[in-house]
């Protein structure tokens, strides 16, 4: 007998905030996972909305890629407002 499948749990703390990953749990199916997530991760009203996602369905980038995967953004400092000098006296820019 092996474990029930693993689910990753995301909780929205308040309306207006994003769901945040809080941990994982085992459950037989999605509905069961939701109920377990409610009992495990919101015992003190920590959330108003819960997502559960089968852990095996998550595709993650590899940490080793850090350099090459993200380097397209590395040399594009002009994407930041601080790249542009503002002449003295100019406001609201």
């Amino acid at each position: 007998m092996t474990d029930w499948p693993l689910w990753e749990v995301f909780v929205r703390a308040r309306r207006g905030l994003s769901h945040v990953h809080v941990g994982s749990l085992h459950a037989a199916d999605a509905e069961h996972a939701l109920r377990n997530a409610r009992d495990l991760y919101t015992r003190r009203q920590e959330g108003v909305s819960v997502w559960v996602v089968p852990a095996e369905r998550i595709t993650a980038s590899a940490p080793e890629d850090r350099g090459s995967f993200y380097d397209p953004a590395e040399d594009k400092v002009y994407r930041h407002p601080t790249f542009y000098p503002v002449p003295d006296g100019v406001e609201h820019l």
């Binding site: 092996t2 029930w4 809080v22 994982s24 749990l25 085992h26 037989a28 940490p63």
Partner: protein, 324 residues
Amino acid sequence: MTTEAPAAPGAHDAQRRFDGMIAADERIEPRDWMPDGYRRTLIRQIAQHAHSEIIGMQPEGNWITRAPSLKRKAVLIAKVQDEAGHGLYLYSAAETLGVSREELLDLLHEGRQRYSSIFNYPTLTWADVGAIGWLVDGAAITNQVPLCRCSYGPYARAMVRICKEESFHQRQGFDSLYVLARGTGAQRRMAQDAVDRWYWPSLMMFGPPDAESAHSEQSMAWNIKRFTNDELRQRFVDIIVPQAEALGLTLPDPDIAWNAERGHYDFGTPDWDEFKQVLKGGGPCNRQRLEHRRRAHADGAWVREAARAHAAKRAARDTAGEAA
């Protein structure tokens, strides 16, 4: 532009990157490369911690049906439920290191992984529930607060959640003892007796003295542990001595005295032979705790199977519905 071919990311580079992150006090995450020893140490520590949480439900669970009031009963149920939750947070953190829940439970049930020796002592009276909350959870918090900054991300995040919840555990214990200590003579004696029995085992919770602690040095180098066993034990004694005075109860340690030179309380030496005995399985309740755990797991087998069968049936029905 470099003319060198990029080096294949070998074990050496990975080790260097890992060492660099530890040196910079960054967090290690599940998909990062890590040395086998680091992984093994964390699995052992997190599993032992998880096991302690769920075995720890037993001594207090013993008093749920006999709590003296509805309020105390509701509080105790919430606390024991939290312990189950803490176990689950920690098992889930351990699983990010590539070990399964089932394996971990097997290791516990076979006695091949340990849980905290404190839970091998019996809860003889209602006051023990208060003493556990105050002393045992107090010691646990002292141990766990620095773990919120542990180098392994999932463990550190689980500890943040746990520490938040533990502070209610300690307060309710203190509150319960405070009331007993101001009650009838019999209630007062019961509270003192509980403190007398739980003081020394709670000092043992920090582990053996630094000189004899097998894993401490390496764990500190890896930023898993932030303070030594003896430092944490001292911190705990410094906290509880004034609290005991506020309770009006005494700690059963004649060596407790303020040391102005050190700026800390001096205190006695726990009976380390007893500690080793209990750790080896010779405590008053070791056998009972493990038997109960195995039985609870076996008794729950039908629930696990039924939920699985139910999920399979529903999945089949959904597939049939889509095909129709």
